[in-house]
Amino acid sequence: MSETRAIVACPECDLLQEEVELGPRCVAQCARCGAQLFRRIPGSIDRTLACLAGAAIFFLIANAFPVLSLEAQGLSNSATLLGSAQALYDDDERLVAILVFMTTVLLPGLEMGSMLYLLGSVRMGRVPRAISFAYRLVEAARPWTMLQVFLIGVIVTLVKLRHMATVVPGIGVYALAGAIVMISAAVSMYEPRAFWARVKELRS
């Protein structure tokens, strides 16, 4: 096995193209199909790591506090991220409950944790031991993390119930919004090429 250099293949149309030097914050697109090939982001690793650390803190808070509370006739009831999956599970809707748990708690957590592990290790000058496993986990989890969608779900629920009871958004929902903003920032700063280039430097 040997690496080839200076040539990239488009992941979406397979066209081979010569690599070009990019200016900062520029994107290279495929000449034929328009897919994004790669970007150049100055300080990609540090910036992604900073945003990820913020996202992880927000995400922990989002999990620890209720996202919504309902008050009616002097009684109140609140739902957390985990609690809404739990409620479905207790209601014998096991498969849907597992889906909700995976897409809002487990996979976002694994994705953030693995990225922190990968980028954090490289930042401290070590090649992470489980690099290939963690990297593929991040890539595989990405299409299945749906925190933004859950936030819209919270807003819809808030509107739906407001005629029947007093519904109060909890700390969890603000933290969730914070986590989503920080994750989007991290994703916009993350460039796998920068990560692998650093790994190569560390290995040699």
């Binding site: 809404s84 779900g153 629920t157």
Partner: protein
Amino acid sequence: MSATALRSGLLLCRSCSLLCRPPGDGGEADCPRCGEALHPRKPDSLVRAWTFFVLACILYIPANTMPALESTTLVAFTSNTILGGVRVFWEDGDYLIAAVIFTASVVIPLAKLLAMGILLATAQARSTWMPRRRARIYRIVHTVGRWSMVDIYVGALLVALVQFNTIGEVRIGPASLPFAAVVILTLFCSLSFDPRLIWDPVDEAP
């Protein structure tokens, strides 16, 4: 005639985008950088994508005709399909929310099935028709698919919040499972479809 990775005997890692030269013996190989199995194209892409597509189409029917939400209050029992839920929002004057739910739960799954059907049929027929536009359709399908989950999350939150000690009880209806399955299956469908199949017939055309 374009130079492609396939034609040049190179393999692109699906996970870390490393362009690799496969071993001379023609056997199976893993990416030397991240360990992902290397394939010239996603294995059995069309067969897998068609399977997920057909299953999603079948489950789309119960997902929309069965009740998605059943609520019991002290005075009434109501049961609504997804479209019925949209109508309730609309009649209450919550037009924006009605539009969001209608788009996420009805339009997106339907548009996604339609788009995947076209992509699969043209790729199967090795069509060279408007490849750039079809590539764009694929990218859009891939990004909007997850938004259909909104309804499932609303159901989960309602079940967690509304319980008999307060104002009534909400349970998610029998449509929830097929609806969730449609979202998952269409995601699997677009993930198993290899967009390079759109371009292969273009590359082979004389």
